[in-house]
């Protein structure tokens, strides 16, 4: 094969290599600018990933829904439809295996397990990672834990933008302050 042909093929590959991360960015940016914002009450804990660094894992209060439908396979897709409660936090309006014909926002979550006793479906929301600067991730977990020890109700939430079933976790907020700044303030 001639050099020029190899080079043309390489240019094609290079474009693909650039396109994948760029497409990820455009997709997420469009969700942030056009999607609806929801607040999910949450609790963070701190693990890490070998390539992508430290993140805090978020345990959401929205993680189960009472339903009489008991046939769920672990790791299956579940469409979770959302609405807002009186305090402005997200809550589940209904769950379904198939997309429903409604204008409500939804996210595609993963089935965890179904509890027959409580007739409750447990699911994992697809935005449970919040990446942080490595020195701050553990402090953030401690800060949240301390914050919850006071008598006030849980006031840590994740700000999530949602559009067409896809979500972007934009920020984690404690007492109306972004968790990045909150950690600095506590120091």
């Amino acid at each position: 094969m001639k050099t020029i042909h190899i080079f043309i093929l390489f240019i094609g590959l290079a474009i693909a290599q650039l396109f994948v991360p760029a497409q990820m960015i455009f997709n997420k940016e469009s969700i942030i600018s056009n999607g609806a914002a929801y607040k999910f009450k949450t609790q963070p804990v701190d693990p890490s990933d070998p390539y992508r660094g430290k993140y805090i894992n978020l345990n959401y209060d929205v993680r189960a829904y009472k339903t009489t439908d008991s046939i769920w396979e672990r790791k299956d897709k579940v469409y979770v439809y959302l609405e807002t409660d009186s305090l402005g936090f997200a809550k589940v309006s209904e769950v379904s295996k198939e997309p429903l014909n409604t204008s409500k926002d939804f996210i595609i979550a993963e089935v965890g397990w179904y509890s027959k006793i409580e007739q409750e479906l447990n699911f994992n929301l697809p935005f449970n990672r919040y990446y942080m600067e490595e020195t701050k991730a553990y402090d953030a977990e401690v800060a949240v834990r301390n914050n919850q020890r006071d008598s006030l109700p849980n006031n840590t939430y994740a700000l999530v933008y949602i559009k067409n079933g896809e979500a972007v976790l934009n920020d984690v907020v404690i007492n109306e302050i972004s968790i990045k700044d909150y950690v600095d303030k506590v120091d």
Partner: protein, 424 residues
């Protein structure tokens, strides 16, 4: 030129073993040979260097710099990628040598991973680990062929194995079918190596890495009927052994023949494992289900192995009877006898191991190969050691058996040594 050779030539001239003219000829030969091949050591260090730099960039980005705005982070995500692409483009256009091709390719490989990782961080995309790995591998796979790079091929197989393990073992019980595709991507490269660089060290690396990767991943193809996993592995090791027995591989040094060595060791390991009674009791607790995924995988492996055997026969490559090549057939029969609830299978497996041990000793003695001879003795020792755990033999008999095998070790090696001296 190698300084050792230079010294040897000097010595030979001084001792008047060779004339000055011959010495000059030898020196010229080595000089011309060296001019053809680029500096291999330099290539190795260049590859190591770019691996470290690439990994370093990933780690630095993984710090997750909070102080930078989203747009600056985005620029950081693309910078290493674009730099890597420019270097690779330059290498291709200017037809640079192997060192350039290997090193720039490896750098670009890690840059692709780094840029995707950083975008995931910026937008908090949890995206599971295996799908991230899959995109990464696929985006870099064509580079193996565009740059004709062995380092990239090695990275490809290592990351593919890592992906299949993450997908098949750690992310729940799924079957990594895409692993077959990823492995197939590598086959043309491996074929070219076998064809053009049969005896090079780099080819032997692949002779070991490819079977090793398949062995690691095969377990992920077990879905629910776990018992059949044993059968799958025995047949796979049979396939590897038979591939290793093809004259193309068999005529090379044993250390280059990963297929044969892994196939043989794996066969013995699986047989020893299935020679325990508790294992069969465990297997028999489940009912046999036909038509499962494992059954089809076993069947495909079985047919491929038979195919290799028939091919070898048609080419008249198989002259002597070698039990190792047929173990997978015998084991398949024994396995189904065992599944029907008969413990005769355990006795048969024990006999099979014994026969293989004796056969290895015979092959070793015929070939004057101490390694194979002692491998046979080790097989028998392992068999006896295993029976220590689940039989009620008296200690005296067990002791006598061990003394017997120990004497056997001395005796056979001694006879071999003597025969070898006689032949000289």
């Amino acid at each position: 030129m190698n300084s050792k050779i230079l010294n040897d030539i000097k010595e030979l001239v001084e001792e008047q073993v060779i004339s000055n003219k011959v010495a000059a000829n030898i020196e010229n030969y080595y000089k011309s040979k060296k001019a053809d091949s680029p500096n291999r050591l330099f290539t190795v260090f260049a590859v190591l260097g770019s691996t470290l730099v690439g990994l370093g960039i990933i780690l630095i980005l993984a710090h997750n710099w909070d102080d930078f705005s989203r747009s600056i982070k985005t620029i950081f995500a693309f910078a290493p990628l674009i730099i890597g692409q420019l270097i690779v483009g330059y290498t291709i256009l200017k037809k640079k040598n192997t060192t350039w091709r290997e090193a720039s390719g490896v750098f670009l490989f890690f840059a692709v991973g780094a840029s995707m990782a950083l975008v995931s961080q910026i937008y908090n995309i949890p995206g599971n680990f295996s799908s991230y790995m899959l995109t990464w591998i696929l985006l870099c796979a064509p580079l193996i062929y565009l740059l004709k790079s062995n380092a990239l091929a090695i990275l490809h197989i290592v990351f593919t194995t890592n992906y299949a393990c993450a997908f098949g073992y750690f992310n729940g019980n799924q079957t990594p079918w895409l692993y077959i595709l990823l492995l197939a991507i590598l086959i043309p490269h491996y074929y070219l190596l076998l064809k053009n660089k049969k005896t090079h060290n780099i080819t032997s690396i692949f002779n070991w890495l490819i079977p090793l990767s398949v062995i690691i991943v095969l377990g992920a193809f077990v879905d629910r009927t776990e018992e059949l996993g044993f059968l799958m592995y025995v047949i796979l090791f049979g396939l590897l052994y038979n591939i290793g027995k093809l004259p193309f591989f068999d005529n090379q040094k044993l250390r280059r023949n990963g297929h044969l060595v892994l196939g043989s060791l794996g066969t013995i390991y699986m047989l020893l494992l299935t020679s325990f009674e508790w294992l069969w009791k465990d297997i028999l607790r489940h009912d046999m289900v036909f038509g499962t995924q494992e059954m089809y995988v076993s069947l495909i492996l079985f047919i491929s192995t038979i195919g290799v055997l028939i091919f070898s026969y048609s080419k008249k490559w198989i002259q002597n009877f070698n039990l190792f090549q047929y173990v997978f057939i015998l084991f398949s029969i024994i396995f189904f006898i065992g599944m029907s609830g008969s413990f005769a299978s355990i006795a048969l497996i024990n006999f099979l191991i014994l026969a293989l041990g004796i056969l290895a000793i015979k092959i070793g003695a015929d070939k004057f190969h101490f390694g194979i001879l002692n491998y046979g003795l080790l097989i028998i020792t392992a068999l006896i050691a295993c029976r220590f755990f689940d039989t009620n033999m008296s200690f005296v008999i067990r002791g006598l058996l061990f003394v017997g095998v120990g004497v056997g070790f001395f005796f056979t090696n001694y006879i071999m040594l003597k025969r070898q001296k006689l032949n000289k």
